[in-house]
C-alpha cells in the first residue's frame, strides 16, 4: 500500500508534466514554455503581495508551532510541579517575539506598495521592488519558521527539565537565546534586501 502511494504521489505528476511538455514540443509550440516572458509579464504587485503574505504567514506558523509544543509541556509538567508554570512562560514569550518580527517586516514591506495603473507598472525599478519584496518576505518567513520551531522544542524540554531540577532552567535559557537570535538574522537580511528599493512608481513618459 505504501509503495503504490508513492507511485501516485511522485509518478503521476511527473507523467502529466512530461506528457504536456512533449505535446508542446511536438506540435511546434515549444516556445510557449518561456520563463523570461513569465517574469516580464507577471505583475510586480503579485510578487510583492505574495512575499508579504509568506513573511507573516510563515512567521506565525513558526511561532504557533513553538507555542503549542512548549505549552503542552508546561501544562503537562505543571500537574506535579506547579512552580514551573510561571517561569516557563519565558519560552512562550520568546516564540511570540518571532511573530512580532514577522509583523514588523510585513509593515515595512507593505509601506512600499502604492497605487500605479497597470499600464505604467512595468518599469525596471518596479520589477526590482516586486522581486526584492518576494524573496525578502520568503527569507524572513523561513528564518522565523525555523526559529520558532527551535525555540519551541527547546522550551518544551526546558519545562520538563525545570520540573525535575530547578537549577537547569537558566542554562537551557541560554540555548533559547541563541535560537531566538536566528529570527533576528532573518530580519536583518530581509531589511538589507529591500534597502535600496523604491516604492512602486508610475512610468514617467
Amino acid at each position: 500500500m505504501g509503495l503504490y502511494t508513492s507511485y501516485y504521489a511522485f509518478g503521476l505528476p511527473t507523467f502529466v508534466t512530461l506528457v504536456i511538455a512533449l505535446y508542446l514540443l511536438f506540435t511546434g509550440s515549444g516556445e510557449a514554455f518561456n520563463v523570461g516572458r513569465f517574469l516580464e509579464e507577471s505583475s510586480p504587485y503579485a510578487w510583492a503581495a505574495t512575499g508579504i503574505g509568506l513573511c507573516i504567514g510563515l512567521s506565525v506558523l513558526g511561532a504557533g508551532w513553538g507555542i503549542f509544543v512548549t505549552g503542552a509541556s508546561i501544562l503537562g509538567g505543571g500537574v506535579r510541579a506547579p512552580r514551573i508554570r510561571t517561569k516557563n512562560l519565558i519560552s512562550i514569550i520568546f516564540c511570540e517575539v518571532v511573530a512580532i518580527y514577522g509583523v514588523i517586516i510585513g509593515i515595512v514591506y507593505s509601506a512600499k506598495l502604492s497605487q500605479v495603473p497597470d499600464t505604467q507598472i512595468y518599469t525596471k525599478d518596479n520589477y526590482f521592488t516586486g522581486f526584492a519584496i518576494f524573496w525578502g518576505g520568503l527569507t524572513v518567513g523561513a528564518c522565523n519558521l525555523l526559529c520558532g520551531i527551535c525555540v519551541g522544542i527547546t522550551g518544551s524540554t526546558a519545562a520538563l527539565a525545570d520540573a525535575a531540577d530547578p537549577n537547569l532552567f537558566v542554562k537551557i535559557l541560554i540555548v533559547e537565546v541563541f535560537g531566538s537570535i536566528l529570527g533576528l538574522f532573518g530580519l536583518i537580511v530581509g531589511l538589507l534586501m529591500v534597502g535600496r528599493t523604491k516604492d512602486f512608481a508610475a512610468a514617467s513618459p
Binding site: G78, V79, P82, K87, I93, V97, I104, V108, A111, G195
Partner: protein
C-alpha cells in the same frame, strides 16, 4: 481529586498572586510597544527612514522581552520559603 495533584496543590497556594495579569499585560505590550514605536519613530525621529524605524521596533520588542525575563527570575527567587514544610510533615507521618 487525583493522588498526583495533591502534593502539587499544597505548594500551589503560594504561587497565585497576579500571574495572569502580568502575562496579559506583557502580551499586550509585546504587541503594542514595537508597532507603535515603529510608527512614532519613523515619523518623529528618523524622518521617514523605515529601516531605522524597524530596528527601533526590534529593539523595543527585545527590551520588553528582557524585562519579562528579569521580572520572572526576580519573582522566582523571592518566595518559596513557606511551602516546602507542609509536604515533609505529611511524609513523616506516613
Amino acid at each position: 481529586m487525583s493522588e498526583q495533584a495533591k502534593p502539587a496543590n499544597i505548594t500551589d497556594q503560594a504561587a497565585k498572586g497576579g500571574v495572569l495579569t502580568k502575562l496579559i499585560l506583557f502580551s499586550l505590550s509585546l504587541g503594542i510597544i514595537p508597532i507603535s514605536s515603529y510608527f512614532l519613530s519613523e515619523r518623529y525621529v528618523w524622518n521617514g527612514n523605515s529601516n531605522y524605524a524597524a530596528i527601533t521596533a526590534v529593539f523595543a520588542a527585545n527590551v520588553v522581552l528582557v524585562t519579562y525575563i528579569i521580572l520572572s527570575i526576580l519573582e522566582d527567587k523571592s518566595p518559596a520559603s513557606v511551602p516546602p514544610d507542609v509536604p515533609k510533615d505529611t511524609k513523616k507521618k506516613q
